[in-house]
């Protein structure tokens, strides 16, 4: 039962991941990537990580992918995506390199030996257990994450709102070219 669910989800995830990198239209790519993320969320639930699965949907499939769609509409690319212009050599070499890496990964998985499989801890994926670890053992990374987000805010505003610092305060027409 569980194994069938895994195989179906994994096949959908792989197929849509392949669609992401082969579609000509970036909009189609974004939508297939959302499908991949939803499949990964299903796998998280199967692995007993309910909170992470919810966050996957809310943050990745919800927020981040919506941002990608926003940017696509903002740029409104038309006819200059150029999948056609990619040389076959590039495609061949790219896929060959990825295939080689896959070979290494699978070989490693084969030789790594079997992992000591422990039983599922049903409490582990809950928000409560998650909070215990996050706010005690990971106290410092948690605070540093806020600095990272602060950096992201400032970086984005500084890049998008290119307004000379001299104009600050006096409310001139902020030039957003």
């Amino acid at each position: 039962m569980e194994i069938i669910l895994f195989i179906i989800t994994a096949l959908i995830a792989l197929a849509s991941a392949l669609m992401v990198i082969t579609r000509k239209s970036p909009i189609a790519s974004v939508l297939f990537l959302v499908l991949t993320f939803v499949c990964i969320a299903v796998l998280y639930v199967m692995l007993g990580a309910q909170f992470i699965a919810a966050m996957q949907i809310i943050v990745y499939a919800g927020a981040i992918m919506v941002l990608f769609l926003f940017v696509l509409m903002l740029l409104n690319l038309r006819g200059n995506q150029g999948w056609e212009n990619i040389s076959p050599a590039r495609i061949g070499l790219g896929f060959a390199a990825a295939g080689l890496l896959l070979l290494v990964a699978v070989a490693w998985l084969k030789t790594a030996g079997s992992m000591e499989v422990a039983g599922l801890d049903p409490e582990m994926g809950t928000v409560s257990a998650f909070g215990d670890v996050l706010f005690q053992r990971f106290l410092l990374p948690f605070e540093i994450a806020s600095v990272l987000l602060l950096g992201a805010i400032i970086g984005v505003v500084a890049m998008i709102k290119r307004k000379p610092l001299a104009e600050l305060g006096e409310d001139k027409e902020g030039k957003v070219s």
């Binding site: 941002l67 926003f70 409560s128 909070g131 706010f135 948690f142 992201a152 805010i153 505003v157």
Partner: protein
């Protein structure tokens, strides 16, 4: 796994209900078509000319991006809210430091006028 049976039932109910309603509209509703009805609907007036896919102003992007950052902040608050009583004062201070650092970003946004809509 059996915990998810209610979710599955919910999913079946939702899909069944929407399917049923759409089927009812298709099979029971009267169909009288005329050219005016086939036009794209836009608040009763004739559709505005031109391409629907115009380039959006960069403001939309700025708001969306700032939403993401604060979305992550709220995501961090969720496990904190569940554990609030056990963490006590320590947890409160922890979250206040977190929020205070992000407040600098908020002040910067306001100072730069990033949310002003022109």
């Amino acid at each position: 796994m059996s915990n998810y049976i209610p979710v599955l039932l919910f999913l079946v109910a939702v899909l069944g209900l929407t399917g049923l309603m759409m089927a009812m509209v298709i099979f029971l509703g009267p169909k009288r078509s005329n050219p005016d009805k086939e036009l794209p609907f836009e608040t009763g007036s004739a559709p505005s000319p031109g391409d629907a896919r115009e380039r959006y102003p960069v403001h939309f992007y700025l708001v969306a991006i700032l939403f993401i950052v604060f979305d992550i902040e709220i995501a961090f608050m969720y496990p904190w809210a569940v554990k609030f009583r056990q963490l006590g004062l320590f947890g409160l201070v922890e979250m206040l430091v977190f929020a205070a650092i992000l407040m600098f970003g908020w002040f910067y946004i306001i100072k730069r006028g990033a949310l002003k809509w022109k």
